[in-house]
Structures are given as C-alpha cells and as structure tokens.
C-alpha cells in the first residue's frame, strides 16, 4: 500500500504552517520528518491523522490488493502524540485493555506487547507510578496491541534511554518488514533502514 499526500496546505489561526507539501510513502518504508522547532512537523502529523482541517490538498491511500476495504486513511493510522493517552488513575493493564477494545483490530496480546517494550510484570501497577521513560514505552506498546498499517510518531523517543531507543528501533523495523509504514517527526536518528526524509524550514 501507499500513502500519498498531494499539495497539502494547513492554516492554523492566520498563519500558513504547511504550504504545498507532497510526498508518497510506501509499505516497508519510513518517512522521517525533520526540521527546527515550529516548522510544522507536528502539524503535518496531526493533519495526516485527520485532527486538522486541510486548506488545500488531499491524502489518499493506494491499496491495490484492497487489503483494507474502504477505510479512510486516518482509520489506518496509529497516532503517537506528545501525550501518552493513558489514565494515571488506572493500572497499566487496564489502560492497555481499554485501548485495545476501543481501537479494535487486536494484534498482540497485552502481555506480549509489554514484553516487547521490556515492561512485562507491570500490568497491575498504576500508570501514575511509572517513570517518564516507562510511560513512553507503555504508550509505544499501544501501537502493538491493535493493528494499524500506518504509524504516525511525534517525537517517539522523547524520554527513552539508549537501550529502549534501540528496542524501539527494532519494533519499528519489524513493523516495516510486516508491510507497515511509518511517518515520524524527530530530531534524533531512529536507526532505521529504508528511510526517506522530509526537511522543513532552513537547514544549516
């Protein structure tokens, strides 16, 4: 499958944040969005997820084998934003069970997904007791418990230590090899093969 963006412009308030952006990302491929702060990386991801109205342009999914029926592109996306989307008052297991049921298309078991991010055994711990990096890893495991081919990752490695970063790179690589595609906004190299780059703003 392919995600095709053509001539995307997004206005927030009075300001034109994205102007005439076009790209294509295919299965097994990652698009890394780079650029200084405030150049519109997050805006692009939010626009792809369908959280922002487009001023011009369209997103479309090219799905020759008709694998995903007539789902719109945003229904095929996992969006990992700056916030972790977990309730501090509930345990890790309860949080993940909720998201799995809410998002549908269950993929990995919760135990399995937590093992993949190296946090198995923490199911019954309240989410508020976790450290920043652990919270992020639980949030990452949300990507694994229900299946979406497109991962939209906004600064996914914020708060992760080196070992977790490597682990996450492996997870992304598996997702890509599975036929998924990734669009990530980041400053830090994610350690992926087969990537494209989209650079916003002036680069030194």
């Amino acid at each position: 499958m392919k995600l095709i963006a053509s001539n995307i412009s997004v206005i927030r308030g009075e300001e034109l944040i994205l102007e005439d952006i076009s790209f294509t990302v295919s299965s097994n491929e990652a698009l890394i969005v780079r650029g200084a702060n405030g150049t519109g990386k997050s805006t692009l991801l939010r626009a792809i997820a369908g959280l922002l109205p487009l001023e011009t342009g369209t997103f479309s999914v090219d799905d020759p084998d008709n694998e995903f029926g007539d789902s719109t592109h945003s229904q095929l996306c996992h969006y990992l934003g700056h916030e972790n989307a977990m309730k501090p008052a509930m345990t890790v297991g309860e949080n993940l069970a909720f998201w799995q049921e809410f998002a549908g298309q269950p993929h990995l078991e919760i135990d399995e997904a937590m093992e993949m991010v190296g946090l198995d055994g923490l199911q019954d711990v309240p989410f508020s007791h976790l450290s920043t990096g652990q919270r992020r890893r639980i949030s990452i495991s949300r990507l694994l418990i229900s299946y979406r081919p497109i991962w939209l990752l906004d600064e996914p490695t914020a708060g992760l230590d080196a070992a977790s970063e490597k682990q996450f790179a492996k997870l992304m690589q598996i997702h890509l090899e599975d036929g998924g595609l990734i669009i990530a906004a980041t400053h830090i190299p994610l350690g992926l093969e087969n990537t494209k780059e989209l650079v916003f703003g002036e680069q030194e």
């Binding site: 939010r46 700056h82 509930m90 309860e94």
Partner: protein, 219 residues
C-alpha cells in the same frame, strides 16, 4: 463504546473521579437551606421541590468541567477524534456516564434529602420522578458547554454561565411538576412530560453539537 462506558465508570470511582463529590455537595446545599430560611415546616415544604432541583442542577454542573478536559490533557481526546467510532456516539456515552454517576444518585437520594425539608410523600415522589427524567438534560446540555470550554484552563465558570440559561426550562417545568403534584387542581403530567421531552431533545442534539465543538477545538 462499551469500552468507553466501562472505563469512564471505573475512572469516576477512582481518585479524582468525583462521583461522590456531587452527592456531598447536593447534601450540603439541601441541608443548609433550613438553617438559612428558618425552621418553618410549611415554608420549607413549599420550597422543597425548588431546593431539591436547584441543588441537583448545581451539583450536576460540578463535574462537567472535567468531562472532556482530562481526556484533552492526557491525549486521549486525540485518539477519540481519530477513532472510527462516530464522535457523537462517544460523546453520548460520556454524557450518559456523567448522568449515571451524578444525575442518577442525586435522583435516588432526593427523597431522603427531601425529608429534611419536611416534604409530603407526594412531593417526594414527584421530585424523584421529575429529577429522573430531567437530570439527563443537564448532562447532555452540559456536555456541549464542556466541549466548548475544553481548551480553556479555567473553563468551569464560563461553562456554568453557558449552560445555566439552557437548563432554565428544565428547572421551570421540573419544579412546576413537583408543585402541581401537591396543589389541586394543577395537573402533574403536562409539565412532567415537557421535562421528559427536553431531555430527549438534548440527548439527540447535544452529542452532535459537542462533537462539532470538540473537532473545532482540536484544530
């Protein structure tokens, strides 16, 4: 949908959920009334229905501010907006849970609190009946206000100011029905049915208005 219902119910009984707060506040409003007005049983029983209704209205408004705000803060709202489940259906679910943990307990406790006000048996039953059909309207109207003020950090007061005028018809007919139940020859049914109609109306319109406001707020 069921997942959201279960989660929100669970959260409202956890720390910071505030399911009990509305009930305690309701109790405080009703109990302070006799102290303010004086121990005149006839006067108290006359204004009993109005007191129960105003208490219920104010208590329902308490938790509304957090209805969408906590989801917006932790990023859950983004996931809700992306979800293939229609946003209006999700809003309906959340409003319904709000009613389950505020409106419903308020209704069930109203006859007990009404005893403090020396209300007659008929008035107690009428209060319970009108609150049962009227408090859903407050939750559904309130959800619209909560959706509009979701991105404001101190939106609670604005929310009350926005929601209160819309709730006035519910209050008028609700209290009217309670009064009609104890004064002959006023009929109880017409105002009671009007309250029910308002609730049904807002149960349909409210979620769509809230969904629209939430989408606007996200962008």
């Amino acid at each position: 949908m069921i997942a959201l219902l279960k989660r929100d119910l669970k959260l409202s009984f956890r720390s910071g959920g505030g399911a009990a707060i509305a009930l305690l506040f309701y109790f405080a409003v009703v109990v302070s009334m006799p102290f303010a007005i004086g121990p005149d049983p006839i006067l108290l029983s006359t204004i009993g229905g109005a007191t129960l209704w105003i208490g219920a209205l104010l208590a329902s408004l308490l938790g509304l501010e957090r209805l969408f705000q906590s989801d917006a803060e932790d990023g859950s709202l983004d996931q809700m907006l992306i979800s293939p489940t229609p946003l209006a259906a999700q809003v309906f679910t959340k409003s319904f849970v709000h009613w389950l943990v505020t409106g419903l307990p308020l209704t069930l406790m109203a006859p007990v609190f009404g005893l403090f006000l020396g209300m007659s048996q008929n008035a107690l039953l009428a209060s319970m009946a009108t609150l049962a059909v009227g408090t859903p309207a407050i939750s559904f109207i309130g959800a619209v206000g909560a959706a509009i003020t979701v991105s404001l950090s101190r939106g609670g007061l604005l929310l009350s100011v926005l929601v209160m005028p819309m709730c006035i018809p519910v209050l008028i007919f609700g209290v009217g029905a309670v009064r009609a139940a104890v004064t002959e020859p006023d009929p109880f049914l017409p105002p009671f049915l009007l309250v029910a109609a308002i609730s049904l109306f807002f149960a349909v319109i409210g979620p769509f208005a809230s969904a629209l406001a939430l989408r606007q707020g996200a962008s």
